[in-house]
Symmetry: D2
Subunit: 432 residues, 4 copies
């Protein structure tokens, strides 16, 4: 975790405090369930819930761990200090992983909830900008080369649709890890009734794991982190779009530049797209957890603990980074400075060249063979490209064009609104 790329709510999910609190709740609900079926005395339930408002002393627990070299045992030892005799009924029949894995998944569920909210806010920002610029014409580019006109609103709508898919994926990913397990040493419920698991999971808003082997299987977490990797990649796409559009030669949009901000220590004229460049970097960080999460799937037999150190790192780091990145991107979109006049200037840079396809189609519709029409348009286009002449005027000089199209027919192909006629249809598909 890097402080400067983190937000407190997500950071809190991964604090020792939160973790011990969740451990405590799992143990307490397990006691409830165990007492209900008569395995442990009802008094124990009261004893353990008496600590309901206890602030766990993380330092003390971590200190105990130095001796026990086992985190859950350290926690239980700490609890025993407060609960006394009844403490012997706590954790009965359970194994550490019942606590650790169920807690870990609760943390991931909470993290997912924040991330879903983040995406919702981003969607809102994208939607606002999409509608605001639904008709703001700019050039569409393939291969970085001018193609045909689109609108800036369409760019935002595309980003919206992609992020909307990501929301669906994230909700699915949350379901993957919204499961708990209280199944004992090797998952056989030998020393603890399946009902305890059912009870505890329900109390904590989780499904019960179908079948666990001491631990909750890690294909779930692999799928979870893979989904975050896809979301990170989408962030990179949007960030890259903005970085391109802010280039000096393009300058169709700019990140908001605060008063007092300095773009460069050496060059006072600079205003750099540093937020979106940062987002490109953060997306690499989000993506890098995917492979280790997948490598974690293949644990040995009923479990080994190699996944643990990986998850201690990637779970906080990746969710914190993604939360920060989504939030940063929302801010970038909201505050984005847009220059429609530059969009228009760029659009016309090549003197009508962007209408080459329409001319091609007009020629074919007049009976020119496609191959011939292509050659006619391409040869004229290359002159525009190379010599900077006007495309329409150039075409008018070509007898092959004149033979097929009269002036009105030719001129009709240079109408910008032609390209925008289905914008509403598309917006309908995206925002319905």
């Amino acid at each position: 975790m890097i402080d400067r790329y983190s937000r407190p709510d997500m950071v809190n999910i991964w604090s020792d405090q939160t973790k011990f609190r969740i451990w405590y709740e799992i143990e307490a609900f397990a006691c409830e369930a165990q007492a209900k079926i008569g395995v442990i005395p009802k008094a124990t339930v009261k004893s353990i819930w008496s600590l309901k408002d206890h602030i766990f002393d993380s330092e003390k627990i971590n200190l105990i761990e130095k001796t026990t070299k086992h985190d859950v045992i350290a926690f239980l030892t700490y609890l025993a200090n407060f609960i006394g005799d009844d403490s012997r009924f706590i954790h009965q029949g359970m194994t550490s992983s019942d606590i650790l894995d169920t807690c870990f998944n609760i943390q991931l569920v909470r993290a997912s909830d924040i991330l879903i909210k983040d995406i919702d806010e981003l969607l809102e920002a994208l939607k606002a900008k999409a509608f605001e610029h639904k008709e703001t014409v700019c050039v569409g580019r393939s291969h970085g080369i001018h193609a045909e006109p689109i609108t800036f609103g369409l760019k935002m709508a595309q980003a919206y649709a992609e992020m909307d898919r990501n929301k669906t994926r994230l909700i699915d990913a949350k379901k993957e890890i919204a499961v708990g397990a209280i199944s004992g040493a090797v998952g056989t419920y030998a020393n603890i009734e399946p009902d305890v698991e059912t009870y505890v999971c329900k109390a904590l808003g989780l499904e019960s794991e179908t079948i666990s082997t001491q631990i909750i299987p890690r294909d779930r977490h692999a799928m979870f982190f893979a989904t975050l990797g896809v979301i990170g990649s989408s962030i990179d796409r949007i960030a890259t779009e903005i970085r391109h559009l802010q280039r000096t030669e393009v300058l169709e949009v700019e990140e908001f530049f605060a008063k007092g901000q300095k773009g460069s220590s050496a060059m006072p004229h600079k205003r750099n797209p540093v937020l979106t460049e940062n987002l490109s970097g953060l997306s690499r960080l989000v993506r890098m957890s995917v492979i280790p999460a997948m490598e974690n799937v293949s644990l040995w037999h009923e479990r080994d603990i190699s996944h643990s150190s990986v998850e201690r790192n990637i779970a906080p780091d990746t969710t914190i980074t993604l939360d920060f990145a989504l939030n940063r991107l929302t801010g970038v979109i909201k505050n984005l400075v847009i220059y429609p006049e530059n969009m228009n200037k760029n659009l016309n840079k090549f003197n009508g060249l962007i209408h080459s396809q329409r001319v091609l189609l007009a020629l074919t519709q007049k009976g020119v063979r496609r191959e011939d029409a292509y050659e006619i348009v391409q040869s004229n286009a290359m002159k525009v490209w190379n010599e900077g002449v006007d495309f329409y005027n150039q075409l008018k000089k070509d007898p092959r064009v004149v033979k097929a199209l009269n002036d009105n027919e030719l001129r009709a192909n240079f109408d910008m609104s032609y390209h925008l006629k289905h914008v509403d249809t598309i917006f309908g598909k995206v925002f319905s």
Copy 2:
């Protein structure tokens, strides 16, 4: 693609023949739709469908590409040779990506269908082995160390549940890429009506893309390949389990060893788990496509073509490898040789040590503090471990044990059936 790790049906999906056939169908259905709305003559539809049974000459098309340096134009040129004048109406208003991306997704859909069938067959094999060995007791291991008894059927049931999740994921992943787009040069439908897209997609069993930008957005494909990566990782888990169980010292299962097979050119006594080792390797190959598929998301503006070479490689390679791996794993499971007697021998290797938890619980239930009970059991267990003595006998010599438990109470903890009492419950959860 490596020949020895491929199966013909999946290979065929990625042949030039299949690709050109799909291109042709997309063009033909587009002509139908265009004729229906009066954009092109109805006669063209007849012309193009006259090639319904045409066998495309891939070599000839690829040769034309050497000149045009553009694959779709080469294909259209080839078509024109057969269709003549009407050919000028084919592809009208479309851009190459309309064909390429829609075709690519059809190929991925077909690949998904094969993979889903593969998983179904694997599930069947796992289920059969799970029920066959529902009661075959073996030791559960955490950290590679004996823990408590489970059954071999439970191992198979765990694999089943994991693969069943993978099936659901794959069905979702298929939906991700089961979309087509016919939206023209920059996705604005400027030169082609949205209805054409709707018509063609429906005819081909696809959804229409919500919003495309010349191309279908690559977050869909990133999600698709990420899902294959998870499935590959699950294969690795099952393969690794078998590799462990076949180790000379464990020898609880063995891959089927054919007559005439040679385990080693130098050591005639060897029977190696080479199929599952191979599966571990193949899973690395499946996984390696995930990151490039994610890197492909961030294309520039409305598209660049950097994803293309990546997909030409990872799409065939990954689906072919995964198809092969799933099928190989099914074969391994079906033919797996299982040694229940060795499972039993291993289970008893440490003279009852696997019952340590039960003794611990029995002591605490008799009022011994958990911490004390732990120490009592651990100290006796270590003697068993180090000196090979019998655990039960050892415990009987410990006055602290004797004080808490009479002989019957102690002996009761060494009952194997105790651990199996919930196997049916678990099977109920997995196979219902």
Copy 3:
């Protein structure tokens, strides 16, 4: 391997024909060594070398493997058909891996030699372009934003220096895998004298492995593929640079566009940087082999075979792709069309803004506090940025500037040659 992204010399290295030929040579040299120390009859050496010009029938050998399920045994069986009785001395004391691993490394050495040659050709192309455009001024950009003037030759020189480092790395990587091993079943030389290994390796131009465990340790190969990944990343850097420079709004360079080439099936005006976009994609493919190569390191005990399927894929695919990519990049550089007039136009787009640092320094040298000078220059620069006015004229209107600098002193900061004074020094460092 994708046909369209491969070149024949590299493809040949990975043919069955080449492989069987190398296997044969290893066996033959091993026979020589064995005969020399009297382990096998000298006649066997003659027998085996009698096949010196034999063309191996790959199909037949692969057919035998279907029965033996073991490739080396299949090969030995094939050899036996030609050599008869003496064949029993061939492969004596060796294990399959002695052949497989030594052969694999010979193939990698040969692949390295091609790649080193590729880099040499690329270096030559870069050097030529660097010197040709040593003084061709263009704007340097940080964050995609105009910074200060550089030359196009410096860009090429940077690429040269980076590729030169890659050459050194590749030579080191080649050394990593230029080792062979003939050490028997578990690497103890129990059945074969260490001298045989020494002899064979020397004959084949390899070092002997320090210590092998049936196989040559895979940390060597991990390092090899990691190095290829770095080279691929450098290719991506250069390709991305060209893609940026070819953007419609920038258009400082263009990939060569052949007669008859079509940029787009729909838009005849397009000239797209498709070669460099393709290189960006290929670099992802090269990079994707790095992680599986590293996962291959951790084989079980003295070996398992999980690395094999991985290497069957990544070794040919990665070397073939990298060879193709280096060669394609060399072609792109050689044929690159450069537009110095556009470079100049872009450089002046913001009316002198790129000289902001010099003005800043001039002010501080006249005693203005750095913080104040920064504010003065930035506020004027922002006006240029936003209103398109001339930077020099703008500064002249600012009394704070006028107070510190007279007109000559101010004007001096707008001299382009100032920025180029150390180009020769840099070229000296790069090309010496």
Copy 4:
């Protein structure tokens, strides 16, 4: 960074305190160089060095950054508070990256020095164990299956040789990043003489970058992190070996188990290889930085800042994790408990089967065709495998064996020392 997997010396390298200290030194040496060539007053040098023992107030600097949104400017502002008027000469002609990149590389160099020392300590531990157990016979395993005898010392020697290669690689990797650059806004030395760079780099123990583009090219760092990834993979290999050997059924070695340690909260009998399992996990973390480091290479034009967030994470995290892992592994090796009697027991588990190759060779040397000899040995071996009979006795009953070998000749193949005759030779190669 995860506290529990970190050591203070490495952590300190990445503290703000260390960073600001290095920034200060770079600025101070740059002032020295600038004064020497007369660009700034000599008094400034005295001024800046007056802060030689200053403790930088990180919090205050970070606070200033909140306003400037630029870290280096914040630092310079902080410095100005102490230095006053002379501060205007500090940083003159430099760009932030001159400071940031040079500092970053100094931190990586220091990190490398710690890692090299770590490897040295690991090498020492491996060497000690190798010599201690040079003759401790154990079974060599391929595919997890018994192959032929080796010694435990050979396993340690293999690990030594691999780590020794890693040391060489790390020394090379250190050289890759042991460069500094003071070349100004776009690397042209327009506002700062190349001599300043030379002077500062020399003072700080670095080479000067051949050619920089505001920043030091990231292919260097890609190579650095790739090398760490290889080292991590080697750690995984050694850790995996120990995990295998500690399995209950094998139990040839055990991690040291401290007094008071608890293997499992539920099962008091457990002693788990948790340190080496942890190392397998840590190696995944080390490896995961490789791809983002490679993705960082392709920055836009003369630089973008997307690499920065990546490096802020992976540079501390990866070096800290690797330092911890190497140190943990050294501890594991030093304290490893070795059970030669179990090695011997395992070796004899299959009644002499491990000698199958020798019998095969003995038969072929007596003139039996290799194919026939193989069949003879294999068929007898399978009986041993399946029925648990003694291999030697089994062979004696086979008339085909008896015909070729008399009892002495047969028995000679079961001599263990035969396999160890070249151990000294191998040790000579590894440790010379």
